[in-house]
């Protein structure tokens, strides 16, 4: 049996791209204001952060683990940044470097404890989530930093391309390309994937799996800190509750994007652009649900249904492609 369908059509990304286009067309024709300049700009600011959160989760899912502390970590990093810039008066560029180091350090703690105890990262990050968030609330006394340097907050409200796109989105897309390069073309990236795909085999071929897992957690902390900085720039202030209680508001987008994008939960497979498309799709649907006016209370319900539908669809796709390959 000859197979005339090109390979990329069968991939998850292609299906996602189609879905994104379908939803854009659907919302453009059925709702007022979806394609307005204001809405597209607002979307680009939201989607930028969702992509970053999704990537931060993706690199930990690569190890077959999870990072529940993502939101708490991102907010802690952002609050640390607010303290650096407002209370200490440290210049913006140095502050950002410090925030990134801080985020990576918190990620390192997650990774170190996970590797040393051999306990599933779910439990470790569940514990660190409440520790990070608790310390952050104690130290800041739940007060926000609202007098950040103007140069910093201006970046968050800057408008590019005839005022359609936020520079935050460009930053996220750039991060996608860097991560793609890392996983596709560098020695380190291949080692990270090998360690996640089959730890035993990787260990036998001379890769230190523990170190690779710790790197993944550090990278996750780093990306979560970037997301924290971006959110601070967007809001114009560092607020302890900006990701909800314990950072829970970040969890659904964090899991939706990589899972819809086709990242395997058992580890060993990442799809950077799948995650990006997943984040775009989720933000689109979320935005569309508000515009169609399903009522703000039902939005969560539909997001849950979409996640369920997405994983079932992915399962079906896997099933049919594996059947196809047996036939050919």
């Amino acid at each position: 049996m000859k197979n005339k369908i090109p390979d990329f059509v069968k991939t998850n990304q292609f299906g996602l791209l189609l879905l994104v286009i379908v939803f854009i067309l659907l919302f453009t024709f059925t709702t007022d204001g979806f394609s307005s300049r204001f809405n597209i700009y607002a979307l680009s600011r939201v989607v930028a952060i969702d992509i970053m959160i999704g990537l931060a989760m993706m690199v930990v899912i690569l190890t077959g683990g999870l990072n529940l502390s993502l939101g708490a970590l991102g907010v802690s990093a952002a609050m640390f940044g607010g303290w650096c810039m407002e209370s200490m008066g440290i210049p913006i560029s140095i502050s950002i470097v410090l925030i990134l180091i801080f985020g990576s350090f918190l990620g390192w703690i997650n990774g170190y404890v996970t590797v040393k105890t051999g306990v599933h990262s779910f439990i470790v990050t569940l514990a660190t989530m409440s520790i990070y968030f608790g310390f952050m609330t104690l130290l800041t006394e739940a007060e926000a930093f609202r007098k950040l340097p103007e140069a910093f907050t201006d970046f968050g409200s800057m408008k590019l391309f005839k005022k359609y796109i936020s520079p935050l989105l460009l930053l996220s897309i750039l991060t996608c390309f860097i991560l793609y390069y890392l996983f596709k073309f560098t020695d380190l990236g291949r080692k990270l994937i090998a360690a996640g795909a089959n730890p035993d085999a990787a260990e036998l071929s001379g890769i230190s799996v523990s170190r690779m897992f710790i790197y993944c957690h550090m990278l996750s902390g780093f990306l979560a800190a970037v997301a924290g900085i971006m959110l601070t720039a967007r809001i114009g202030a560092a607020i302890p509750s900006m990701a909800g209680h314990l950072g829970f508001d970040w969890l659904l987008p964090a899991f939706l994007a990589p899972v819809i994008g086709g990242t395997l939960l058992s580890g060993g497979k990442v799809t950077v652009f799948g995650t990006m498309l997943g984040a775009i799709l989720v933000t689109l649907i979320n935005n569309g649900l508000y515009l169609i006016d399903v009522g703000e209370f039902w939005v969560r319900f539909f997001l849950g249904l979409i996640l369920l539908f997405a994983v079932l669809l992915d399962r079906a796709r896997e099933y049919f492609t594996s059947k196809n390959s047996i036939v050919s």
Binding site: F122, I123, A127, T128, S130, L138, L265, F301, L308
Partner: protein, 322 residues
């Protein structure tokens, strides 16, 4: 005696007794009837929630939607009584039924698709919570029958609340289930090794669906107990259950890979967490510290369990050399 020392619950029991003695030495208020009453109330609520998570841990999975099921049942229970004027018993049975259905959905989808229970229950968490918010529009139900309010606040004698009866019965039944019935044994076997349990002829579908149904049922009971306690049905019931639901079984020594749980140790884990939270309150320590403390306790428990495993491995090695 040496057999006793090996039990998960023995060390915990010792910590609880010694800790209580030390705390009451410094703060006699700790053993005041009122404090004991508050302590028992929080233990009774968390006991049910912890058991609801424990049974899923036994089969090697996680249930993120425990709190969402509890919340949905809580508002359905109160909503049925307030809006539809149902009497307590039918409202209660419908509440239990919703819990069972939610659990069945979780279990059935997980086992039929083979997708990780984490993702399925994350999705259902949002679905159940979304239904809860969609129905209530974030408004609580206040009209609760007097009998329900009475049950939530009356005392049997001394400081012992009525509310503790149901959790104690549930804990006993769970102990029987996990230690004395074949279903419990099959669950542990499944949690230990899915392949070999299937080869033994145990039906995966049955085990996973039953475990999730029991989990949903317990979450439903937890939700309704909170309604009795608070005397109102607010949509945010269950929001804060996630961390404590994992804390108690983990502190009780459950292995998250599945196949090992200890009902008594989990119950002791609940008591320990309650005592520590209460002590921090008595010593007037910032409530946010309670959260940090809970996080650290999970980490410490994880390290201790790891150390014990390590010691066991070494002992086994010595024997095999001989």
């Amino acid at each position: 005696m040496s057999n006793l020392l090996k039990k998960d619950w023995f060390g915990l029991g010792l910590v609880i007794i010694l800790g209580s003695i030390i705390i009451s030495f410094f703060k006699p208020a700790f053993v005041s009837p009122f404090n004991l009453y508050v302590l028992m109330l929080s233990v009774s609520l968390m006991l049910v929630v912890a058991m609801s998570q424990m049974i899923i841990i036994a089969i090697g999975q996680m249930n993120l939607s425990v709190g969402a099921i509890g919340g949905l049942v809580a508002i359905s229970f109160t909503g049925l009584m307030e809006v539809y004027d149902l009497s307590i018993l039918p409202a209660m049975f419908i509440g239990l039924g919703i819990g069972i259905i939610c659990g069945f959905i979780n279990g059935y989808i997980t086992v039929k698709t083979g997708i990780s229970a984490f993702i399925i229950t994350l999705a259902t968490l949002y679905i159940f919570k979304g239904m809860n918010l969609g129905i209530t529009e974030a408004q609580p139900f206040y009209e609760i029958p007097e009998a329900v309010k009475y049950f939530g606040n009356a005392k049997i004698f001394g400081p012992i609340p009525y509310l503790i009866i149901i959790p104690v019965i549930i804990t006993f039944l769970m102990w029987v289930l996990m230690n004395r019935t074949s279903l419990g044994r099959y669950m542990l076997a499944y949690g230990n090794n899915v392949q070999s349990s299937e080869l033994m002829g145990i039906s995966s579908t049955k085990i996973v669906v039953y475990a999730h149904i029991i989990s949903g049922l317990l979450a439903a009971i937890g939700g309704m107990l909170v309604v009795c306690r608070l005397q109102l049905g607010t949509p945010n019931i269950g929001d804060s259950w996630l961390l404590p639901s994992f804390a108690a079984p983990v502190i009780g020594g459950a292995i998250l890979a599945g196949g090992k749980v200890d009902v008594i140790a989990t119950a002791f884990g609940v008591i320990l967490v309650a005592i520590i939270s209460q002590t921090l309150v008595i010593f007037k320590i910032d409530p946010f510290f309670v959260q940090i403390f809970l996080g650290f306790m999970i980490l410490i428990a994880v390290f201790i369990n790891r150390y014990r495993e390590y010691r066991e491995e070494r002992r086994n090695k010595v024997f095999s050399n001989e």
